[in-house]
Symmetry: C2
Subunit: 186 residues, 2 copies
Amino acid sequence: MSTSANSPYHHGNLRQALLEAALIILEKEGEVGLGLRDLARAVGVSAAAPYRHFDSRAALLEALAVTGFQRFSAAMEAVAASNPPDPMAALGKTYVLFALSNANLFRLMFSPQLKKDGRPGLRMAADAAFDTLRHVVGGDMQTGRIKALAAWAKVHGLSILLLDGQIALRAGEDTEALIAEIIGSL
Amino acid sequence: MSTSANSPYHHGNLRQALLEAALIILEKEGEVGLGLRDLARAVGVSAAAPYRHFDSRAALLEALAVTGFQRFSAAMEAVAASNPPDPMAALGKTYVLFALSNANLFRLMFSPQLKKDGRPGLRMAADAAFDTLRHVVGGDMQTGRIKALAAWAKVHGLSILLLDGQIALRAGEDTEALIAEIIGSL
């Protein structure tokens, strides 16, 4: 497999270039705006070229969600490794700010349409993100799991309520300050 | 305004009958399956009859969401009034179980497509549900609001994660017991 003679991309580069372009289209136009043909046009390759890397639109969406979880995990790992005074609060804030800054990617990562069962790569990437949280929570197997699920529920819920415009901000209220207050309140 | 001569419905009854039928269709087929024509057929009235009560599909969806919030509030008020030993936990469990038992209605109630700004009836119904939570939380204006938002985020997040199939249950694990554990854990 090689890219066409006049393509500026090597095989590995093209996959990465397609993913980067797809992430931009996803945030700008949402999942519906994302087709393999438009993507080829955006990157400047033939309409057939993306199929060398993603055999369907579903495969592209899955690869985007995997990339999303990898970046999400990396952001949380970096915060956890920086020894913040309140690791759970720091992690929670990182979670919600990632969601708000990557709204459509975040929705895709947790889309019920993109079933994680039967997609081992996606399952692994998602589990790795949960494991970061699980590790910071500590505790024994069952207590730690329940605490991590509770923390996850809170930051996921806050992300969704903010993304969906359900929480009415007061006049002049700063979103980031409100997030910190809510996360710190329990 | 009156219903047609051979309709079994009085004006007020028809609205209620349409809403009840719409709630059933919504849970069975999801929001996409819900049109005013299909609804007329399900209730056994002329295709024009629903328009006497809902001038568009959006108006029907709004009325369904309002009904949803009213039932949601009623369920939470009933639990709060029963003086449970841990009111916040009892309310939280009621929230999540309502979401799981009325999945599509719950999604509609919190749909970002159904903007609450500019729909005062929907805004009021949604605010009333939050006020029940706010009342049980207690506290002064700002602390109470933040605590209520945190509690809301947790139970909303848990609902969404369960509805979207993101929380992997262990073999033999009971959903309701897991919900109680997670809600009780903070």
